[in-house]
């Protein structure tokens, strides 16, 4: 199908965005990498009157470290995320996630802001930012507000963004020597959205005990699912086969997956258990010693 007719405006500053939104009201739609929006426009599910291109807005770009916080501009492309040295050092989970996102051509255009704003339940980055306990910086004509990632995703393709806001940046607490993170997923073809995935982060003390575990599953619900029970099952425990089994068992109450084209809910539950073991096994002393 062909796109519905719409106008195109390029914003150079946030002021431009506010002005264009004021002019066009609900008919205005932001476009960043376009890798989700342009495809869905061809479905003719929505018919915006004007696309506001935000990719030239300097204030939304760049990756910087401020104290113990890594700030990632909303316009950071997936490919940039994958090769940025600051990201690799302070938020390795995000770098590790990039190869799982689509294909190189899409990663060269798609942005982290677009991915978080669209909030696809099977997308990698929303799960990662929740796992990292990141904060989203939302801008509006009234200024900035900060929302914890875990509160940002409110439902299927729904977020805490208000109509006059946009995502300006993501702030991630920088990794410490005790930080451990992993992303694992099951997809039928490389680059596909996951049938089930897990972004995990935790701290491993010198005593081998786990603290602040955050197991966030994707592709198994309406959005990234922070598994409270499974995470709690690890808290304060020495990481071993027993702890992993406890997390797997607790998971049953954390997720309630829908069925989809790939299979029934039971398959996703099963895969989530498998992924739990695969991710956590990486931090077992023997595995860490071997790598």
């Amino acid at each position: 199908m062909k796109w519905p007719a719409f106008a195109y405006e390029r914003a150079s500053t946030l002021q431009d965005v506010w002005r264009l939104r004021a002019e066009h009201g609900e008919g205005a739609r932001l476009v960043a990498g376009g890798q989700t929006l342009l495809a869905t426009l061809a479905f003719r599910l929505s018919e915006p009157s004007v696309l506001v291109d935000i990719t030239r807005i300097e204030a939304l770009r760049g990756v910087t470290v401020q104290g113990s916080t890594l700030r990632i501009g909303a316009l950071t492309r997936h490919a940039e995320l994958g090769r940025d040295p600051l990201v690799a050092r302070h938020a390795p989970l995000l770098a590790e996630a990039v190869p799982y996102i689509a294909h190189p051509a899409i990663r060269n255009r798609g942005t982290i802001g677009g991915s978080l704003a669209y909030a696809d339940p099977a997308a990698e980055l929303p799960a990662c930012v929740v796992a990292l306990d990141a904060t989203l910086v939302l801008a509006s004509p009234a200024g900035e507000r900060r929302v914890a990632a875990r509160e940002f995703f409110t439902g299927l393709l729904e977020t805490a963004l208000k109509p006059d806001e946009l995502i300006a940046a993501v702030e991630v607490p920088a990794a410490t020597p005790a930080s451990r993170s992993a992303i694992v997923e099951v997809a039928r073809r490389s680059g596909d959205y996951a049938m089930a995935g897990l972004a995990a982060s935790l701290s491993l003390g010198a005593d081998g005990r786990v603290s602040a575990p955050r197991l966030v599953y994707f592709g198994v619900g309406n959005g990234p699912v922070l598994a409270a029970g499974a995470s709690a099952a690890l808290e304060g425990k020495a990481l071993d086969a027993g702890a992993i089994a406890a997390a797997q068992a607790a998971l049953a109450r954390d997720i309630d997956p829908p069925s989809d084209l790939h299979g029934p809910p039971e398959m996703k539950r099963h895969l989530a258990r498998v992924l739990t073991a695969r991710a956590l096994s990486r931090f077992l002393p023997a595995a860490e010693a071997a790598s």
Partner: protein, 798 residues
């Protein structure tokens, strides 16, 4: 590979000459054009006064069309006209897709747009023609159709039950066709067998995804009374006849042109209602109308295929000798048999091909073809073969397992002997010459079975489950009129080629077979260069135009090389003889003492150059006055070719697949794949290998990923490339291709088809490999596609 018959007997160039192109991997001529974006696909054809069509498609699997309100659509800016089924029926007759030789077959009249009922979700119902495709879609959005949804018949298993919804009440029931082939004494064979094993197989409904979607641009010229159709099709002459007949025109008043076609796989050899509607609208409006399917439309309207459930039994004696097969196939084909090939052929092929590679005496196979309210199915690459091969090879592996016999050994004991030909199979297929044992031997040279089995055992100890699977197969190619013609279809089994020499000594070949990206143009060029004796660069190939090329069937059922190639070779040889006749007169030499090498007339014995063809051309075309008055000097020859001895030229081969199954996730990793096939004479080894590889990929796609999934209301759920998973390079295995060459004696060229071998055998080899991996865990899968969910379920993990 270059063992062409001796030049003396057939007038071919000697094998050591530089223009001996048959058997060489010559780059194909159209590649630079395709990769530089200079191809002309139907959508690239620019004509004045063009308008664009878009269709409103049925949102219901089955519904009565109560009322269509076109008023708002007609007012949409850019919209030129709106057409309903009734509007088109004024100029266009319906068609019924049956074949007389398929006894008892029935189907219903199909109109370009239905008059009363929509019978599948996605059926085109109303057409909007506008200045642009976008405006036409705006028009479609403004249409108001009142529907009365009707109960839909979706499940093929219940289609013949008393309570079934009869999709075409006038036909009485949903039975399209049934046939049973029976040979020997099946009951006795199974009663006396040492072992009988059985299984139910399912092949998933899938489709051929072409890079270029179906496209058509039809232009009716009122001044001339002619219809010119630019069409993305495999069979331009067939479509010429179809458009003429349905639109009540003379065949000669219709011209079908296919410039470049971006893939076909059998999808583009059928009559589609939306395409006929475009021709009808052009006829009515007297101006060019274009329609290019988008992906949504492709998924709901391109033919689907392979929606079969097959129950099979095999009987073996204690030595592993196959005593018999007993097979029951059922397939759902959608609400209409597809014109003009019909949708009964796939089931019929299952009956013809099951057990195909093996020597056994007792056979019973029934196919039952039924209507259902889903997208129509029809012939797609390797029609019926992957189904028959999966059932046969699945059963053979089960028998081996029951006997505790190695899968290679059971095949060795049962494959038809290489010296047994000619041979007639239980369902009556006649094989001129196959090479199953030579192919198996060649495969075993390529597959390091011992190393693989050792690795398999070692990996098992580490909890990694790998499997090796085999599949022998036969492939039907070079069809004669026995396939369609005898059933009354105007589908040509013969093909022609015209080869001419122009004044500069260059050669042009016009052929009735067609090119969709597979390299037909390339092999025609090689064959003609070889036959005439010129460098390949001096041969220009023209295909895909009913007004200029000899009448032919186009490209399907692997006939391009075997039929079209032979016609080209014969006409090239005839042209060469004609040239040598003229050269002999000019050089005062016996024509038989001369030859043509690299565009130069030479002395046959010494190779001494006597005259370039350009000089001969100059004299013939500009100084004909200097030649004897009675010298025939037509440097153009046409030959047509049809197979006469055998209804089909069967080929054979064997594949092996080596996989790793992640038993925790159900994901299958394809490690390595091998195929040995025998397509007779290999004209271009590189192209044949790529055909085999591409075919394997398509076979693996259907077995692992591709699936047209419907919901309980009959809505197709897999309508984007994100939901309908085609195989992608990252997941494909390393593939090794080997050849055995058993040329057919029906032609000088000796070529049989090579395009479907990969697809025919790959799903079965993969299934057997997966089951080899799962066997120690007591699990087995027989339902394609082999998804993680199905593998996990078989393992009892979900």
């Amino acid at each position: 590979m270059n063992d062409m018959p001796t030049p003396a007997s057939i007038g071919l160039s000697r094998e050591d000459l530089p223009n001996s192109y048959i058997g060489r991997s010559v780059p194909r001529p159209n590649v630079p054009k395709l990769v530089q974006g200079r191809a002309t696909y139907t959508d690239d054809v620019a004509v004045p006064r063009l308008v664009h069509a878009a269709f409103l498609r049925s949102p219901h699997a089955h519904a009565r069309i109560v009322a269509i309100d076109t008023a708002a659509a007609a007012k949409v800016p850019g919209v030129v006209r709106v057409f309903t089924g009734a509007d088109l029926a004024k100029v266009c007759d319906p068609w019924v897709a049956t074949l007389e030789h398929l006894k008892g077959m029935k189907s219903a009249p199909q109109y370009p747009l239905p008059l009363e009922r929509a019978t599948w979700q996605g059926e085109p119902v109303v057409a909007v023609v506008a200045d642009s495709r976008a405006a036409a879609e705006d028009g479609v959005a403004a249409l108001a159709v009142e529907w009365e949804p009707l109960a839909a018949q979706l499940d093929m298993e219940t289609a013949l039950d008393p309570g079934a919804v009869v999709i075409h009440p006038a036909l009485g029931d949903n039975l399209v066709f049934t046939r049973t082939a029976e040979k020997g004494d099946v009951a006795a064979a199974f009663a006396s067998a040492h072992k009988v094993v059985e299984a139910t197989f399912v092949t998933g409904r899938h489709t051929g995804v072409t890079l270029e979607a179906r496209s058509i641009l039809a232009d009716y010229n009122r001044a001339e009374g002619t219809l010119t159709v630019h069409h993305s099709t495999q069979a331009p002459h067939m479509m010429q006849g179809v458009f003429a007949k349905q639109l009540r025109m003379e065949e000669g008043a219709v011209r079908v042109i296919c410039k470049d076609v971006g893939g076909s796989f059998g999808i583009k050899v059928h009559v589609y209602p939306d395409e006929v509607a475009v021709a009808a609208m052009a006829r009515i409006m007297g101006r060019p109308v274009k329609f290019v399917a988008d992906r949504f439309e492709s998924f709901v309207s391109d033919i689907h295929a392979r929606d079969h459930r097959i129950k099979g039994r095999i009987a073996v004696d204690a030595e592993g000798k196959i005593l018999g097969f007993d097979i029951d196939d059922r397939t759902g084909i959608g609400p209409y048999s597809v014109y003009p090939r019909t949708s009964a052929i796939e089931g019929n092929q299952v009956v013809n091909l099951c057990g195909g590679p093996y020597d056994f005496a007792n056979y019973r196979c029934t196919t039952t073809v039924v209507f259902q309210n889903k997208t129509p199915t029809c012939q797609y690459r390797a029609v019926g073969h992957p189904i028959a091969t999966a059932v046969t090879e699945g059963l053979v592996d089960l028998a081996a397992e029951a006997l505790g016999m190695d899968p290679i050994e059971i095949r060795r004991r049962n494959l038809i002997r290489d010296d047994a030909y000619p041979y007639t199979s239980p369902p009556g297929m006649r094989f001129e010459g196959l090479s199953h044992h030579a192919a198996l031997a060649k495969l075993l040279e390529m597959v390091p079975v011992e190393r693989i089995r050792a690795d398999q055992a070692e990996q098992r100890r580490r909890g990694v489950h790998r499997g090796l699977g085999f599949a022998s197969f036969i492939e039907l190619t070079n069809p004669s009129p026995f396939m369609y013609g005898i059933g009354g279809a105007r589908i040509s089994a013969q093909d022609g080629a015209t080869v001419r020499m122009d004044p500069d000594g260059s050669v042009v070949v016009l052929s009735g077979v067609t090119e969709q990206g597979q390299g037909t143009d390339g092999i025609l060029r090689q064959i003609v260069a070889h036959g005439v004796g010129v460098p390949v660069e001096r041969v220009k190939v023209i295909t895909g135009d009913t007004q200029t090329t000899p009448y032919g069937g186009g490209t399907w059922a692997c006939r391009g090389a075997g039929i079209g190639g032979e016609a080209a070779l014969q006409s090239a040889i005839a042209l060469k003889q004609q040239i040598l006749q003229v050269a002999g007169t000019m050089l005062q030499a016996a024509p038989g003492s001369l030859d043509i090498v690299m565009g130069e007339v030479v002395e046959r014995e010494t190779g001494r150059a006597r005259m370039p063809l350009g000089e001969l051309g100059r004299i013939v075309y500009f100084r004909g006055d200097t030649l004897p008055k009675d010298l025939a000097r037509e440097l153009v020859q046409t030959r047509h070719f049809i197979t006469k001895e055998y209804p089909f030229a069967f080929t054979n081969g064997i594949q092996a697949s080596w996989v790793e199954v992640d038993v925790e996730t159900g994901i299958v990793k394809l490690l390595e794949h091998w195929c040995v096939e025998d397509c007779g004479r290999v004209i271009n080894p590189l192209l044949v290998d790529e055909q085999v590889r591409g075919g394997i990929v398509q076979g693996l796609g259907g077995a692992l990923y591709e699936h047209c999934v419907y919901d309980e209301q009959g809505n197709l759920l897999t309508t984007t490339m994100a939901d309908y998973l085609v195989p992608m390079s990252a997941e494909m295995p390393e593939m090794h291709v080997g050849h055995v060459e058993t040329p057919t004696n029906e032609s000088l060229l000796g070529a049989k088809g090579a395009g479907e071998a990969g697809t025919a055998g790959a799903p079965a080899a993969l299934m057997n490999a997966i089951n080899d991996a799962l066997r120690p865990l007591g699990a087995r899968v027989t339902e394609q596609p082999f998804t993680p969910a199905r593998i996990l379920a078989a393992l009892g993990r979900i």
